[in-house]
Amino acid sequence: MMEIGLNHYLVLSTILFSIGLIGVMRRKNLLMLFFATEILLNSVNIGFAAISHYYGDLTGQMFAFFVIAIAASEVAVGLGLLIVWHKRHNNIDLDNMSTMKG
């Protein structure tokens, strides 16, 4: 218990990931959905970094690095789209965004 091993970090990562999943499923507001997506990405980063540390391999950190870069650009584009939608429809409730109804 006192000795922190890889498993601890992986369990932590899993818990954070599941919290992210809860957010993704629960939130009906598009912006809040983006927040939950950020949580998901961050939990994965923790996992990568932990594995990298415990196996002495830098690949994990590199991956986490790129994940951060991609997350940033995703936020930029996503918010841009969100702004455009808001201008059109004046609300960002997911339940109203059902034009792809099959």
């Binding site: 919290i19 594995i51 196996y55 690095f65 995703e74 584009v77 789209l81």
Partner: protein, 191 residues
């Protein structure tokens, strides 16, 4: 010993912050909790000896990304609660917990843990940032450049999508037209 204390402390804090993010009904609280969570995650990176990564986390996430989200907050009336139709909590929580349990089982399997080996081992003696630089600019050069281009494209896209009057180009208009435009704008403001 310190490692254990800091791990558990930051773990508890992170989980709490993120939990607030996904469950609160106030938009500002969610934003704040998210920012806090980002900081605490960078703490983990420092514990793990990934200094460069931790710094990047703070700069990019809690700096740039959270600023962007703060701009996004303009679209809310932040004095009111978020009106959200409730989904079925049982399904939501149940599915997540099951997913978590399954992933832990997978990670704990000896088959997984026994078969991992290091591809790019760390170099002894150098600091983390130096190591990162060494790997980043040699073995991961191409992804690095591609990521740079991608960021450029994302930036342009963000500007185009969010900007006002993006179809007018001030530098290509003549002086007289610019004057007219200014007067129109002034007139509007005055009235």
């Amino acid at each position: 010993m310190f490692e254990a204390i800091s791990f558990y402390l930051f773990a508890f804090l992170t989980i709490a912050m993120f939990f607030i993010t996904v469950t609160t009904s106030q938009a500002l609280y969610a934003l704040t909790a998210l920012a806090a969570g980002m900081i605490f995650i960078s703490a983990f990176f420092f514990i793990l000896g990934a200094d460069f990564l931790g710094a990047v986390q703070i700069v990019v996430y809690s700096g740039a990304v959270m600023a962007l989200y703060a701009f996004g907050m303009m679209f809310f009336d932040t004095t009111r609660d978020l009106k959200e139709k409730k989904g079925n909590s049982l399904i939501i929580y149940g599915l997540s917990i099951v997913a978590a349990v399954l992933v832990v089982i997978i990670f704990a399997a000896p088959m997984v843990t026994d078969n991992i080996s290091a591809l790019y081992p760390m170099v002894e003696g150098a600091g983390n940032t130096q190591e990162v630089g060494m790997v980043l600019f040699t073995k991961y050069l191409v992804p690095f450049e591609v990521a740079a281009i991608m960021l450029l494209v994302a930036m342009i896209a963000g500007i185009v999508l969010a900007g006002k009057k993006m179809d007018l180009s001030l530098t290509m208009m003549s002086d007289a037209e610019v004057k007219d435009l200014k007067e129109d704008k002034n007139k509007k403001v005055l009235s």
